[in-house]
């Protein structure tokens, strides 16, 4: 079965977190998902929530409309972007007033038709619910036999009312995937803690402290590595690990992988095509 999805990259992955994008493009076709690039995309608006909620919702709605033009369901690998799009879709369904305002602006200014009746998937539900753990398991040729901690990120699991890829308080889909590809994993007390990334805009030191504390917990709990599913998180947890360490006065050396990189390694994709040379944390130690 081939499932065709509109691929919405968002800001951070497409501007710098290339390892996530490369591993997605390398792994998904092999698992029966064909990705279709969208030409008219923009920011999802999530970074502007504090500045102007109408702008946020307009931006989310316009990207939904861009995908709907192609008649496709959508894949949004960024947790912030996924929440913003899904939430906007719900809000426009629930408020006639809001819907009319946004739909009119989309049409008049950009000639976009908004319907809001597509499915929007994130990496976690795409791998777990659409592709399925069994299917991934069948493909494994090179199990990753490490102890891997899972980090969902705030927006992957909250808030429930919006409809999220996994449960808010006891998410388990990433763990099931890690086990299917040969890894070992368990719950740890800091699993639901925030990585601090959204604070980089206004409170850099606090953001890096949160990143450092999260990574220290992963290390102290005896894991070999951390798996993530959000490019905002990756920017700090992988990209700013040294700085996060010096902020909390610790030496941090936790290999951080995107979940799609781990799946790619397990199903035997070429490591060069998974962007592993771009991870700044010490992933080489394991591969």
């Amino acid at each position: 079965m081939i499932r065709k999805l509109g691929f919405y990259p968002g800001c951070v992955m497409s501007a710098e977190q290339y390892a996530y994008e490369m591993s997605i493009r390398e792994v998904l076709p092999d698992l029966g998902v064909e990705l279709v690039d969208l030409e008219n995309t923009s920011c999802c608006g999530a970074p502007l929530r504090s500045v102007n909620l109408l702008m946020q919702m307009y931006l989310s709605a316009r990207n939904i409309a861009v995908c709907e033009e192609k008649g496709l369901d959508m894949f949004v690998p960024c947790a912030l972007g996924h929440l913003s799009l899904v939430e906007t879709k719900n809000r426009l369904n629930n408020s006639k007033e809001l819907r009319e305002k946004i739909v009119k602006k989309l049409k008049e200014n950009e000639g976009l038709e908004y319907r809001g009746d597509l499915e929007i998937y994130h990496t976690v539900d795409l791998l777990h619910d659409v592709i399925g753990v069994e299917r991934i398991k069948e493909k494994v040729s090179n199990p990753v036999k490490w102890k891997i901690a899972c980090h969902y990120g705030c927006h992957t699991i909250r808030y429930t009312e919006a409809g999220r890829p996994d449960a808010a308080e006891h998410p388990s889909k990433m763990e099931e995937i890690i086990k299917a590809i040969g890894g070992e994993t368990w719950n740890y007390s800091e699993k639901l803690n925030c990585c601090g990334a959204p604070l980089m805009v206004t409170h850099k030191e606090a953001a890096l402290t949160k990143t450092g504390e999260k990574l220290k917990a992963v290390k102290d709990r005896g894991f070999d590595a951390l798996a993530i599913v959000c490019p905002y998180g990756g920017r700090l947890l992988d990209g700013k690990q040294e700085k996060a360490g010096s902020t909390i006065g610790e030496k941090l050396d936790v290999p951080v992988f995107y979940l799609t990189q781990l799946v790619g390694l397990a199903v035997g994709r070429n490591p060069d095509r998974l962007g592993l040379n771009l991870n700044l944390s010490p992933v080489d130690r394991l591969i």
Binding site: S50, V51, R62, Y159, P198, L280
Partner: protein, 176 residues
């Protein structure tokens, strides 16, 4: 030409701010803050409490008692990480995080200067559609990699950038 700040200014709340807050929350599908019974469950799990002393239940208390101007102009609401734990866990289905989003929006509308890097994010979106442009990243050996060098396709961008900008400027001058 009017700057974006002037446009924001046109949508600032006037009159009874408490009524306006309740109305705007309802547009978002969020309940009236008067139902908050101050159990502080939101604060006990708040991701910004320890480091930045944010207490979402206190924000709710101020809002309930009408100290909206004070709250909207206070730095503390900008400490919210936006983790949505308060909204998820509130037994009364309140949403301190959404209350703070609205208050921050009002602060901006009333001419308050954008804190931190927000000005850059906004400028980026208004000029290219994104908060940041693709960069050449360095790997561990200091070798540079662009999208092109990695074989990644060009990313999409708003085709009608004038229409795109005009929609956003119009919305800046409107009320939620």
């Amino acid at each position: 030409m009017m700057g974006l700040t002037d446009l924001f200014n046109m949508s600032k709340p006037e009159g009874d701010k408490q009524k306006e807050l309740i109305r705007q929350l309802a547009v978002l599908g969020v309940k009236n803050p008067s139902l908050c019974f101050q159990c502080a469950k939101c604060t006990s799990g708040c991701e910004a409490m320890k480091l930045l002393e944010l207490q979402p239940h206190s924000v709710m208390a101020s809002v309930k008692t009408g100290f909206l101007d004070e709250m909207m102009n206070s730095d503390v609401i900008w400490a919210c990480v936006g983790c949505f734990k308060c909204k998820e866990r509130c037994p009364q289905e309140m949403s301190p995080v959404d209350v703070m989003f609205i208050l921050k929006n009002w602060y901006v509308m009333s001419g308050g200067s954008l804190p931190g890097d927000y000005q850059n994010l906004l400028q980026g979106i208004l000029s290219t559609g994104y908060i940041q442009e693709p960069v050449e990243v360095l790997d561990k050996d200091n070798k540079g990699w662009s999208r092109e060098k990695l074989g990644l396709p060009k990313r999409g961008h708003p085709k009608n950038i004038n229409g795109f900008m005009s929609a956003l400027s119009q919305l800046a001058a409107e009320k939620l």
